[in-house]
């Protein structure tokens, strides 16, 4: 709107100036030409020239006056006009005597405007000046009318501009207002709000991003709520066991030594479970504060893998599972933290054992040109395809029920992914429901690449 006014107002001023100046300069030019002709006629000294002048002034609708070099009135068409030569200033008279033409506006006794042109005459018969007066009231009226119509047209243009600007501003601001409202509602906790995406431009992109943010926050909130519910359940359950069985032991309500040992084993198991949970929570808090540290050095990845297989072999054997290991790497050295590598493989292999009821777990270590690759494949329950993108998120669990058979807190894979990335590696998971899951972990082994 402001821009339009900045353009319209100067334009209106220029158009107004063009109209008014065009008319006055055109009249001035015509009168000047007439003055030249009349001056030339008077210069001849012909007595008939006076009559001719009267006729020409009548034809052109102007009044003509002739003055001598002293300013005395010699002849004129309207003797009732005041001596107009007296309206000239000293400077203008000087210019006349220097053979320059003078043009100025005058008013008579009745305040009627006139355009006066003075032309010097220098001849043998006459030395003085000729003045031509042309009434310009009608011209001024016409110019005034045109100015009024221009103003009306400008006002019309401003109204049209206001209308169009109003439409555009509403249409532009409406999506922004809608997004502002959605953001405000999200801040208050309503994460189900959606913004309508109407266009493919930046505004549409912002709306889509806001919707995705809402979905992410909702998923984060839901999984976090689930996490806290799981944590409280996971803590409450072992505490209940600890409380119950320790009470039984303390009260001496045991019938045999075997039963006593069994209860003590259960107490120990639950205490370990609680300890694992607390350790996971501690790892999580360090991750959120960016304080997880890795002590990198050149290490043999196959050794870390084999140690983990040794530790978890009995657990797999207990379930009737077979772990098949294949180590095919001539140079399995990578730049990483041995302890953290074991943590990664322990977590992955433990998951494979946990979620496989029967069959085999393949652990394959090999190398490519640039990486050392560890593949773990199982014949377990698998992960639904729609849940695969989320398995590395914190608190996310595919198995939602609180079955003690699976356990877990939803933090294991999030920690694994973070540890892999801290050691410049990559991890990916593929899976098919009820067929099994395959995890591939890669670490670069080129010392020049890693050092640089």
């Amino acid at each position: 709107m402001g821009l339009l006014l900045v353009v319209l107002l100067p334009l209106g001023f220029v158009v107004n100036s063009i109209f008014s100046n065009f008319y006055s300069s055109s009249l001035e030019r015509n009168l000047g030409q007439l003055a030249d002709r009349l001056a030339a006629m008077l210069s001849t000294g012909d007595q008939m020239a006076i009559g001719m002048i009267s006729m020409m002034s009548e034809m052109n609708g102007v009044d003509v006056f002739v003055f001598d070099q002293n300013g005395a009135f010699l002849a004129g068409t309207d003797l009732n006009q005041p001596p107009v030569i007296q309206s000239l200033s000293g400077k203008e008279l000087q210019r006349l005597s220097n053979n320059q033409m003078i043009s100025k506006e005058l008013t008579n006794e009745d305040d009627e405007p006139f355009l006066a042109i003075f032309r010097p005459i220098h001849s043998e018969s006459l030395s003085g000046a000729i003045g031509i007066l042309s009434p310009i009231q009608s011209a001024k009226d016409a110019i005034g009318q045109i100015q009024s119509l221009l103003i009306l047209a400008c006002i019309g243009a401003i109204f049209i501009a206001v209308g169009i600007t109003y439409i555009l501003s509403r249409r532009l601001s409406q999506p922004m207002l809608q997004m502002e409202d959605a953001a405000r509602r999200m801040a208050k906790g309503d994460l189900d709000v959606k913004v309508e995406v109407l266009t493919d431009d930046e505004t549409g992109s912002l709306a889509r991003t806001l919707n995705e943010l809402g979905e992410e926050l909702k998923r984060y909130r839901d999984t976090r709520s689930e996490f806290f519910a799981n944590i409280s359940h996971e803590l409450r359950t072992p505490i209940t066991y600890l409380e119950g069985y320790s009470q039984v032991v303390a009260d001496g309500l045991i019938e045999s030594e075997e039963e006593r040992n069994k209860y003590l084993r259960i107490i120990h198991q639950e205490a370990r479970r609680m300890r694992d949970l607390v350790e996971d929570l501690f790892e999580l808090s360090k991750m959120e504060e960016g304080q997880i540290s890795v002590q990198k050095e050149w290490m043999d990845l196959s050794e870390a893998l084999l140690r983990v297989i040794d530790r978890l072999g009995p657990k797999a054997f207990e379930k009737g599972l077979i772990i098949v290991q294949e180590i095919h790497a001539e140079n399995p050295y990578v730049y990483g933290d041995g302890k953290r590598m074991e943590q990664i493989f322990f977590n992955l292999l433990d998951n494979a054992i946990k979620y496989t009821k029967q069959g085999t777990i393949h652990v394959h270590l090999y190398q490519s040109e640039s990486d050392v690759i560890v593949e773990m494949s199982d014949t377990g329950v698998g992960i639904p395809t729609e849940e695969l993108p989320f398995v590395f998120e914190r608190f996310y669990r595919v198995e939602k029920s609180r079955s003690r058979e699976y356990g877990g807190t939803g933090l294991g894979l999030a920690i694994v992914k973070r540890l892999v990335e801290l050691q410049d590696g990559q991890i990916q998971i593929t899976s098919e429901l009820n067929r099994g899951t395959q995890v591939i972990v890669k670490f670069p082994h080129d010392p020049e690449e890693v050092v640089s």
Binding site: I146, A153, G156, A157, F159, V162, G163, Y166, R171
Partner: protein
Amino acid sequence: MKKTDWAIACVFIFIGLMCLAMSMSFVEHSDSVHVIMMTAFHYCLWIVIPLIVIGFLYMWIRNRKRK
């Protein structure tokens, strides 16, 4: 946009168009409603035709981008 918003915008635009039409008609020394409306129609063509051309250009460019 609500109907009231559209109504307000249309009123402004209509007033503007009438002001333009009247200023053009008075130059022709006519205050006949018929002349004013015909004048308005003529210069509305000067607005609508470029808008149509721009609209076609915009849709053509958009379709090319999508392809």
